[in-house]
Amino acid sequence: MRRLLSSPTGIAGCLLLLLVFVAALFGPWIAPYDPQEFHVTARLQGPGPEFLLGTDQYGRDLLSRLLNGAPATVLFGLGATALGVGAGSVIGVIAGVAGGRVDSVIMRVLDGLLAMPELLFTLLIVSFLGGGTGQAMLAVAVTFTPGMARIARGATLSVRTREYVLAAIARGESRAWIVGREVLPNALGPIIVEATIRVSFAIMIGATLGFLGLGAQPPSTEWGLMVSEARQYMFRNPWCVIVPGLAIAITAMGFNLFGDALRDAFDPRRTR
């Protein structure tokens, strides 16, 4: 942890994530207003003393809506990534370690899936499963699986021919030991880094789905949905698009920077 905080990237990433997680954990309690309460007299206001970040087209307080939407948005990103990364790395490591025909078949199938644009693939799955947060999460996870499998396989392959793995094979170690103790810990770096970066993608895809009306449904305070709903009033009060947009950007950047710092900290050769 101290290593993580010794680089500027790490500090910036951790601070942003701290902000996001405080919002996600305590958001609903620290919100100044009820997120669904209409303030008819104060619609589409800019930031001011009364409404810190302004209000939307119904006069709802943006800060309160933002804080209320934080848990849903962050959980969506984490959940989708965890599912996708888990499935993807298992498939990728299996392909990388098995090699030969198993590898070829698995990877060709995944290549086929990768050929489809990520968002289109997600939309396809959502339209198949039906709208809603749970379905959207599953769809994002499925979309992530082929890409993660490819990265996990690449990391596995680069480790598999190292001499310490050869030494383990020559020693007659079991396959489970070779994968679990020799290959996986050393291939984990790229997978974790990719995963943290993917969290930001997941949040953005989730927001896009919300924006398209396929993810969370109104009156949810999911951030993508907020941008979507406010779109028509963008020119009268840009704040109602900027605020949730910025929140998404901050979360994505936080995970990204954190991921970079994590990779550096994870590398035992970097410490002296």
């Binding site: 001499e163 310490y164 050869l166 020559a170 007659g172 103790r181 020799e182 050769r269």
Partner: protein
């Protein structure tokens, strides 16, 4: 005019350089003074991390952004390199100073034909037209002994051999007729025989052009053949310099003495006494290893598709307690045999061990794997970076159930002591150890399994000379204590003649010669064996300084 003639081509006076790092300033070079006159070859000798390449980069003015000059001066043909502007440097590089790198395959741009890479330099630095440059490039390549230069110029780097590529790099360096050429280990990445040819080329070209050369090397034996003067660099400081004949035969400084003493000399045998003639412990019987066998579909589509043989019909015997040396150039199949015998590569033929026959790598059982252990070349890659040394050493003990659970830790301490490492290393990670220490751990891990045969695949190749000698001695010592046999794969002929009882020579995947070490010079040796032996000079004995 006389003044110009006398002036050294390279004049480094009291030069110091430091790197700024997170931990503070690190002095990479301290008070370096070096003079090279026209026609002189000055060798700069040192181990890895001594700063020898850093000095070359400092002369070329091509340093990392965190490097800073902390004093002294560097003059090339009287021009101040330290104060030179970017434009001056563009003019000086190529015309006044050129550099030849260690690895020709990474020194050439893989996407450009080799002809273009030479003509580019000629057009830029000598202002030639394209046609002139082409003609000059061809002439330059002819001088490096390439037979059909026009044809070679049309090829891409991957279509040429390592020797050809290094000739192109050398031709490029000489093409602009610079006053000074820096050679940074130009033969280290090449095979023994090719290296010898490149070295001969270097001597001829230098005699023809009279260029001054700074020749950087870790190889003292090689330096003795080409250098007029030698400087020995240690931890960023020149500890000794003088005429080559003096420094290399009667060194004054303790470090130089240590370096020279570490050179393997075939007549100073350090092998265990030769074991009595016994039936072989391991027999490799007409073993072949194929790589990249085509699948049935590939064969149907392209009948000419064939597997590539890493080794073909190789037969070898190793007797108990013996050290068998296997030598050959890279790609000769010597490591392939090690891979087959340890179950890392599928093979055809039979491997016989302790009265049992194995005809496939799947047949190797745990007992065989315990008794036949392998140590790899790269100490940095052969230990899992996430495990501690203690866990690495404990693994074979636990895997084969060699000691009761409670005594594992004590045995690990014993193993560390056995390879002369402090017991507290057990809690360290591999990256906290030096290359030589890591190799000791790898050797300890192999001997932890109490094997009957240890296969050493180029275990000294990645180590510095002085560390190399220590590791070789350690290996022989362990062999004497445990009675294990050893298959020692290497390309260092002097070393293997010091260690081995018998030597097997491989070329192009086949075994071409096998003999007792005493018969190395005997008539009737295979021509390839003789070529290998002739390519490596035997170091001269040391004298006391006069």
């Amino acid at each position: 005019m006389a003044d110009r003639q006398d002036r050294p081509v390279l004049d480094v006076a009291g030069y110091s350089m430091a790197y700024r790092t997170e931990e503070g300033r690190y002095d990479a070079l301290r008070d370096i003074t070096l003079r090279i006159r026209r026609g002189e070859t000055h060798a700069l000798v040192g181990e890895s991390g001594s700063g020898k390449s850093t000095l070359a980069w400092a002369i070329m003015r091509y340093l990392a952004p965190n490097a800073e000059d902390t004093g002294g001066a560097i003059l090339v043909s009287g021009e101040d390199m330290l104060g030179a502007s970017k434009r001056d440097l563009d003019r000086l590089r190529g015309r006044k100073v050129a550099m030849v790198f260690q690895d020709p395959s990474s020194a050439l741009n893989p996407t450009l034909r080799m002809g273009e890479q030479i003509t580019e330099v000629l057009m830029r630095h000598r202002g030639m037209s394209r046609a002139q440059a082409l003609a000059e490039a061809e002439a330059a390549l002819t001088r490096t002994g390439i037979r059909r230069p026009a044809e070679l110029m049309k090829r891409f780097p991957h279509e040429a051999s390592g020797g050809e590529k290094q000739r192109v790099v050398i031709a490029t360096a000489f093409a602009c007729e610079p006053d000074l050429i820096l050679f940074d280990e130009p033969t280290t990445a090449l095979d023994i025989l090719t290296a010898k040819q490149i070295l001969e080329l270097f001597v001829t070209l230098k005699a023809e052009t009279g260029v001054a050369a700074l020749y950087i090397s870790h190889d003292l034996g090689l330096v003795s053949r080409i250098a007029d003067t030698v400087s020995v660099i240690y931890k960023g400081e020149i500890v000794e310099s003088g005429p080559a004949a003096e420094v290399l035969t009667a060194p004054r400084h303790a470090y130089t003495r240590r370096l020279l003493a570490a050179l393997p000399r075939p007549d100073e045998r350090i092998a265990v006494p030769a074991p009595a003639a016994q039936p072989p412990l391991l027999s490799v019987d007409t073993v072949s290893v194929r790589y990249g066998a085509p699948g049935w579909l590939t064969r149907k589509l392209d009948p000419s598709a064939k597997a590539h043989y890493g080794a073909r019909d190789v037969s070898l015997d190793i007797r108990p307690g013996e050290l068998l040396g296997v030598v050959g150039e890279s790609g000769s199949g010597k490591s392939t045999i090690a891979r087959a015998a340890t179950g890392l590569a599928e093979f055809e033929g039979a491997i016989r061990f302790g009265g049992r026959d194995f005809t496939s790598r799947r047949a190797f059982d745990r007992a065989y794997r315990r008794e036949v252990q392998i140590v790899f070349q790269h100490p940095d890659a052969s230990l899992n970076p996430r495990e501690t040394i203690g866990r690495i050493l404990a693994r074979p003990l636990r895997l084969y159930g060699l000691v009761p659970r409670g005594q594992v830790e004590a045995r690990v301490r014993e193993l560390l002591e056995m390879v002369l490492l402090p017991a507290e290393y057990a809690s360290r990670h591999p990256h906290q150890l030096s290359g030589g220490e890591k190799q000791r751990v790898a050797i300890a891990r192999a001997f932890a399994a109490e094997p009957k045969l240890v296969i050493c695949d180029e275990v000294t190749a990645a180590l510095d000379v002085s560390v190399q000698a220590a590791v070789a001695r350690l290996l022989v010592d362990l062999q004497a204590r445990s009675g294990a046999a050893c298959l020692f794969i290497t390309h260092d002929l002097n070393l293997v003649r010091q260690l081995a009882h018998r030597i097997a020579v491989m070329q192009h995947g086949a075994l071409v010669d096998a003999f007792d070490v005493a018969d190395a010079g005997a008539p009737g040796r295979h021509p390839y064996t003789r070529a290998l032996l002739d390519a490596v000079p035997v170091p001269q004995p040391l004298r006391d300084p006069a």
